[in-house]
Amino acid sequence: QKTDLTLGLQLEPPNLDPTSSAAGAIDQVVYSNIFEGLTRFGPDGSINPGLAKSWDISDDGLTYTFHLVEGAKFHDGTDFEATDVKFSLDRARADDSTNAQKPLFAGIASVDVVDPATVKVTLSAPDGAFPFKMAWGDAVIVAPESIDGIANTPVGTGAFKFSKWVQGDSVTMVKNPDYWGTPAELDSATIKFISDPTAAFAAVMAGDVDAFGAFPAPENLPQFEADPRFKVLIGSTEGETILAMNNGRPPFDNKLVREAVAHAINRQEIIDGAMFGYGTPIGTFFAPHNPDYVDLTGLSEYDPEKAKALLEEAGVTLPLRVKMTLPPPSYARRGGEIVAAELRAVGIEAQIENVEWSQWLETTFKGAHDYDLTIISHTEPMDIGIYANPEYYFQYNNPDFQKLMADLNLTTDAAKRSEMLKQAQTILAEDYVSGFMFELPMQTVANAKIEGLWVNQPTQAADLTAVHWVD
Amino acid sequence: MSLLTIENLSLSIHGTAILHDVSLSVAPGQILGVIGESGSGKSMTAFASMQLLPEGARCTGRISLAGHEVLSLTEAQMCGLRGKAVGMVFQEPMTALNPLKTIGDQVAETILMHEKISRRDAMTRARDALARAELPEDRFPMTRYPHELSGGQRQRVVIAMAIALRPALLIADEPTTALDVTTQAQILKLLTRLVREDGMGLLIISHDLAVVADMADEIAIMQRGRVVERGPAKTLFQTMQHPYSRALLAASTHAPDRTPGINDDALLVVQDVVRSYTLPRKSLFGAPRVIQAVRGVSFQIRRGESLGLVGESGCGKSTLTRAILGLEKVQSGEITLGGQPVFTGHRPNPEVRRRLQVVFQDPYGSFNPRHRVARLVTEPFHLSENPPQGAARAAAIAEALTAVGLSPEDQHKYIHEFSGGQRQRIAIARALITRPDLIILDEAVSALDVQVRAQILDLLADLSERFGLTYLFISHDLSVVRSITDRVLVMKLGEIVEQGQTEQVLDAPQHPYTQQLVAAAPRLPENV
């Protein structure tokens, strides 16, 4: 029986410290495997206990008391204690913190050690989503003893110990024999980074890797499906893929033009052409597998004639020349080409400009928001709130929506929250803020004898703790 | 018994006939001289006897070399003969040696190719061969590379290679053409000595009648792939029958009729001219090396005079020319033409430049191949303030071309459509077109066949009379200088060592260097 595994992933993490960089690739490697937080995501997106085996919430919703697991040790042999939790949370929310998701910790007023196994976190306002926030990779618990070398030799409490990192090639981790919880089934796991999709295909086919998470070339999946050596897992992610429009400047400050765009794009064609059929159409900014999801695709049915009519009604001169900025992922590049062709059919000439991430961040996402159209997948879970920020690159400024989101944060009643979320989805869809295209699928290719891989991706993680080989 | 017998040899290259029924023979201890104009097939005859012909060559007839029928031998058998039974010396010593191997290795290679002996023994014998070629080991270590030797010394290495195995026959294809007269004399003496000592046969090729006449026992004259005349050297010049042979002889001794019309006023005055070159530094910190090319030269040319300038290669003749032409500034001294300096301030004086023209040695390199003759010959008009235009220009072109014996129609042609002699005429036409006062001829006839050379010399003499030209005639060939100049300067290492009336200097040289030069010059027998 094999007890080691080589997993392929597309992106190599720049370093292995999840608490000071936004790169999802870091979480993919270390989340749950090496580092653990107070809470953790389950494979289905549920929030489960992690290093906190349970927690109590005060009646006013302001105080969380976390009861920590006992006997947990960091990989360097030091004990895991309440002081480590305080250290981690204080470090993340400090003034000079370089945590990429600092807003997660913004609500914390204080962190207090009650005893070595108990931590009390006081919030400045009630926050129903606090355990959810503590499950993020950016909120994992680190120890002050090992913090200095964390970027290259991560020391956590997880079921795997970091072993070595051949930069540009792979990270290897080995089973942690002293793990406090259910031990890992594998003795060792190597994560190999293969950015090129063809190389990824070749590597799986040639057996160089046993599994490939988030397989980058959907066009190759049928070949794997047809091959008994492999199995293909299709799951969901939190990635709403949208055609973002700059609401802050002409022509997309005009709702009619945005509506026209929404009707001009053919979701199925994009899913077929760019994703080879994988992906779920969405009509608003919400994950379809979420119970609160409302199917609003009907509001933006593919209807080029209507799109033309709307453009005429908007009074813009055709052809309408706009710029479409595309970041590197293939869903954006491929989707962009298809969208451009579809827009051209209704009289919108979208000039494609392919950019790197850094340029995308610089010009589109931040600062001047110098873009008209862009395609991007927002992979953070439950992030509809970004539409409430008028400074955000959508430049969408709707006070009603902003108020709704503010109220939602203060609401803890589940039914009410659900109702409000549905309302928010409808507002966005009816305002045609963005072109809502599809929910990014999670495609994993694996050797048919591997079990225990996550099918869905509720957060960026390749949790290997339950992975094992079967005959 | 003869070493080399060539009978009815015909040769064609890619179907073009090159040699026709050539018959020659060389006996042991005999020197056969082969002469003829360029392209007459001298080299091909030699190559044929060694079977080193270019691709596509086919031979018929008979070649017998040291008892072997060359044309029926295999290539491997031929390799066994080359270097052992017959050695060969080539025209161009600068390129005939492998630049990357020491001279000792290259000489020893001949021996190693043919005899199974150790490298050390081969080196010992190579040392002997080099010593016989007058390159003794103590002065010329065998570890030298070719670039560390002068042209004459390299030619000795080639000779040492050729005679290392004491072959019965030595073929020398223009062995001295690229060398100075003094060096040439030494090499020819060396070859003669080797033949006499070893009883070796020598086939020596030359285009210079005088060279061959001096040393050969037997002479063959070739023209267009045929041997037109053969006979013993002693009597051949008297008994010559073939018109070509006679023409060749006549041309070799030709002296144009000249009636010098010399004025007394000095046209060109060169006063204490010094020109040195700073070589690029070999290192950032080392002192730059300086070459004194011309060291304090003074002389005058009178109007209508023809002044000769002779001297060995590298003695500074061309440097002086460039200084006179105002192409380069001199470090000190003054050059004036008709009283005006050629250089004023930091720029050449266009007034003076206009009155000076030049003809170069190489008829092939003196013209831009992309321009038509009309454009080529009118280039000097660039300096004129108001050059003739339209019809006047056409007339000037026609006149210049006619003056040098070409037709005005030739102005529409490109330069490659002309022979070497015609090109040299065009060069003269170019020099004439602005009606200059002084024309400098830098080795202007050295690259030409004797017959063509004779024509050009006649032309120059004629033009000088018709247009009252003044010449500065640079040459290393004393017979040419004698025939065309009134006065001569002898230059050595950047200095003028002797000057005077041409006859006087050449007949009764005073300076040892001049004496050496005159003695070294090959001469035709007196009685022809």
Binding site: T198, G273, A341, I352 | R354, G365, S366, N368, R370
Partner: protein
């Protein structure tokens, strides 16, 4: 003989030699085929490549689509025809930049041989040469965004030292010729001599080098587009076609095969043509062939 002119008298024999030279003919035919394809694409292509036909994606060669369709259902023949346009335009302009800047620099350096200027020009060239070319292209496109124009500039910059060096070395040997001396005697300045005498005599060599750089330009454009730094969609580009087809190679090899062949044949054609031209212009080398 050192002259390399092609004048009326020689012209007929030159033409004859040209026609006899198999590599020149083959090279010309290949090159002209693609040039023609590029030209025709301005007025006509079998299918419009800006409209996608997702329903007909990844179809092998057929009567309808001679070379099949790609992953968006576009006609590959049409893409190759328009891609020829991009490749040729990028390569021509890049070679043009190299020549327009490199040749004058080389002439200038040769005219002032041994001077500080010469040294500075040549050292700068060496420096450009020392930079890994693809990296500079990556940096240029990172700074100004990927586009055909930036590909042209990036490739063009690396053509400059090539032409400057070649020009300088051939000009230096020409400066030793007597006809240059004759021109100097006639009072002509360095600039005029370079223009009248040097330039015409190095054009043949520049044409030969031009074809070689041209073929390298096509390869470079393909390489840049392959890594996404060349022409942007919807402009067709062979390199991008190859990049796009990569993941399909295991089940739709035609998508990679045809653009790859297009590059190969064009580059081959240009190289053969360059070889043929070199033989034609340089009688010394002509001897090397039978």
């Amino acid at each position: 003989m050192s002259d390399q002119s092609l004048s009326p008298v020689q012209a007929s024999s030159t033409l004859w030699i040209a026609l006899r030279s198999r590599s020149l003919i083959l090279g010309l035919v290949l090159t002209l085929t693609f040039v023609a394809a590029a030209l025709i694409s301005f007025v006509w292509v079998p299918y419009d490549i800006t409209t996608l036909d997702i329903a007909n994606k990844i179809k092998g060669p057929s009567a309808l689509h001679w070379l099949g369709t790609d992953h968006y259902g576009r006609d590959i023949l049409s893409m190759i025809m328009q891609g020829a346009r991009t490749s040729i335009a990028v390569a021509v302009l890049a070679v043009g930049i190299g020549m327009l800047i490199g040749v004058p620099l080389g002439l200038w350096a040769a005219a002032r041989r041994g001077s500080l200027l010469d040294e500075v020009i040549m050292r700068t060239n060496d420096l450009v040469f020392a930079f890994p070319s693809l990296l500079i292209a990556v940096m240029i496109t990172s700074a100004f965004g990927p586009s055909a124009t930036n590909a042209i500039i990036a490739i063009g910059i690396f053509n400059i030292p090539v032409f400057a060096r070649l020009t300088r070395s051939s000009a230096l040997s020409l400066w030793q010729r007597d006809y240059i001396l004759a021109a100097r005697v006639a009072g002509k300045g360095a600039a005029r001599i370079s223009w009248e005498h040097i330039l015409p005599n190095i054009t043949n060599m520049m044409i030969v080098q031009g074809t070689i750089q041209f073929s390298l330009g096509i390869l470079a454009e393909a390489g840049l587009s392959y890594v996404g730094l060349g022409a942007q969609p919807p402009t067709a580009s062979w390199g991008r076609m190859l990049a796009d087809s990569q993941t399909f190679i295991s089940f739709a090899p035609h998508m990679a095969l045809f653009p790859g062949l297009a590059i190969l044949l064009t580059v081959l054609g240009l190289n053969l043509m360059g070889d043929g031209l070199r033989d034609l212009f340089d009688p010394k080398l002509r001897r090397g062939r039978t």
